[in-house]
């Protein structure tokens, strides 16, 4: 592996200053499950790793039924699904944290790192999009916020500017009669990367018949995870029905622009967007009604 320096940063301002001074060859180290592999395999040129796991703000895991979730960027997957109230409030996010790698990966990897790695196939990003997550970003000029669907700009590229780092994700409290769901297609049961992933969140009326709002997001069918805006909007005000779900799935397929690669062909992926969108929507609706 290439030689690099390591700093165990103690404060946000220390980490930001180091990022700002060292430019593109400085990288934030949280769980390291992508970064260490990428450096070892010479896919990233890094001369400084800034370990942020001692910084309090990136370790926050705070859920309040009124204000929602603050999820520090370095919180590992296993800590998230250990909190029952978070599992109940954001089941779609939990679906993703439980399928990222195996047990040992989930002991180190976190949602924030999955987002910052900016893989088009990242499992955590569609749930964050459908749950309306906001990125809290610290930089040399202070803090700013960004909707999560604007965070990834290209494979491995993010909206973070020089000297900026992700601090946390804020997810609003779930509305009543709402739930979320995430699933992916992989050719085996575990330990794989999504051929296609789909997430959905749905809010129903009190009778649990009519869709008040919905959000759909897709992974691995474009250079970045996608918010399926038209597909989501098509559901608003409609009764829960096969026709409504089919229409949304078709609208989601319309924005998919997948490539063919070792994991699947573009044609298969487009087909899968339809299948998985239907299953994600039905899954979220089922969770509301259960």
């Amino acid at each position: 592996m290439q030689d690099f320096s390591y700093v165990n940063a103690q404060t946000l301002s220390e980490a930001v200053a180091l990022l700002d001074e060292n430019g593109e060859k400085a990288r934030i180290l949280a769980g390291g499950t992508d970064l260490i592999v990428n450096v070892r395999e010479a896919r990233r040129d890094v001369d400084l790793m800034i370990d942020v796991k001692s910084i309090p703000e990136v370790n926050v895991l705070d859920y309040d039924a009124n204000t929602g979730l603050t999820l520090g960027a370095a919180v590992e997957c296993y800590k998230i699904y250990a909190v029952d109230a978070i599992c109940d409030a954001y089941p779609g996010l939990i679906d993703a944290t439980k399928i990222i790698g195996g047990t040992a990966i989930q002991g180190r990897a976190g949602v924030g790192g999955n987002l910052c790695n900016a893989s088009p196939a990242a499992d955590c990003i569609p749930p964050l999009i459908v749950l309306n997550a906001t990125c809290v970003i610290a930089g040399p000029n202070g803090e700013r916020e960004l909707p999560v669907e604007q965070f990834c700009t290209a494979p491995g590229q993010t909206a973070l500017e020089k000297g900026e780092m992700l601090v946390s994700l804020k997810i609003p409290a779930p509305a009543s009669n709402s739930s979320s769901f995430y699933l992916r297609f992989i050719p085996r049961n575990e330990m794989d990367i999504a051929v296609v992933g789909a997430g959905a969140s749905v809010t129903l009326d009190d009778a649990k018949q009519t869709i008040v709002s919905a959000r759909i997001a897709l992974a691995a069918v474009a250079p970045t995870p996608l918010f399926a805006q038209d597909a989501s909007a098509s559901l608003v005000g409609r009764e829960v029905s096969e026709a409504a779900i089919d229409d949304a799935a078709e609208a989601a397929q319309a924005i998919a622009r997948p490539i063919s690669d070792m994991r699947g062909t573009a044609e298969q992926r487009t087909h899968l967007v339809g299948v998985l969108t239907r299953r994600a929507l039905n899954g979220a609706i089922q969770r509301i009604r259960d």
């Binding site: 390291g32 260490i36 592999v37 395999e41 790793m49 195996g102 047990t103 040992a104 575990e190």
Partner: protein, 158 residues
């Protein structure tokens, strides 16, 4: 030559000090600096689980942890499992069930199984299979490993 850092950590209950470069993984430190060669290098990218160790109570791939990250932490490796004259019940169960052939994946499987039983003393077969999904074995076909872990669970929770 790359600068080395001084690191103090606890390994299998003993305080250990070592010097390492930032780029050395915990796996490299264990094997090359401390001569604890139980953890194995398989894929070196987090897929195979042969290097599994327990870091501050949590199962990790030691190939994906930097040695310098373990300052002040506690590491459990396969070397710390058996007592001087007695194998750990998971080790016994692996022998009894013939849950290994070539053996290179075995330290990782046993540490992974230990982390499971530490947190969930009575796992179902389903839970065992999912928990161990990050450990690969090319010899046994997994069935004997799963049975060994089920037996060990019976033994340790009895």
């Amino acid at each position: 030559m790359a600068r080395k850092s001084h690191v103090q950590t606890t390994i299998n209950g003993e305080t250990v000090e070592f010097l390492c470069e930032s780029r050395q993984s915990l796996l490299e430190v264990l094997r090359d600096e401390l001569y604890l060669t139980g953890a194995k290098e398989g894929c070196n990218n987090g897929n195979c689980g042969a290097c599994s160790v327990i870091l501050d109570g949590r199962l990790v791939n030691s190939c994906l942890v930097l040695g310098v990250e373990t300052e002040g932490k506690s590491v459990e490796t396969i070397e710390g499992l058996a007592e001087p004259d007695k194998l750990h019940p998971i080790q016994d169960a692996f022998l009894e069930n013939a849950a290994l052939q070539c053996g290179i994946c075995t330290p990782g499987f046993i540490m992974s199984a230990k982390a499971l039983l530490d947190s969930n003393p009575n796992p179902t077969e389903h839970e065992i299979r999912y928990w161990l999904a990050g450990n690969l074995c090319r010899c046994t076909g997994y069935d004997k490993i799963v049975k060994a872990v089920m037996d060990a669970a019976k033994e340790t929770s009895a």
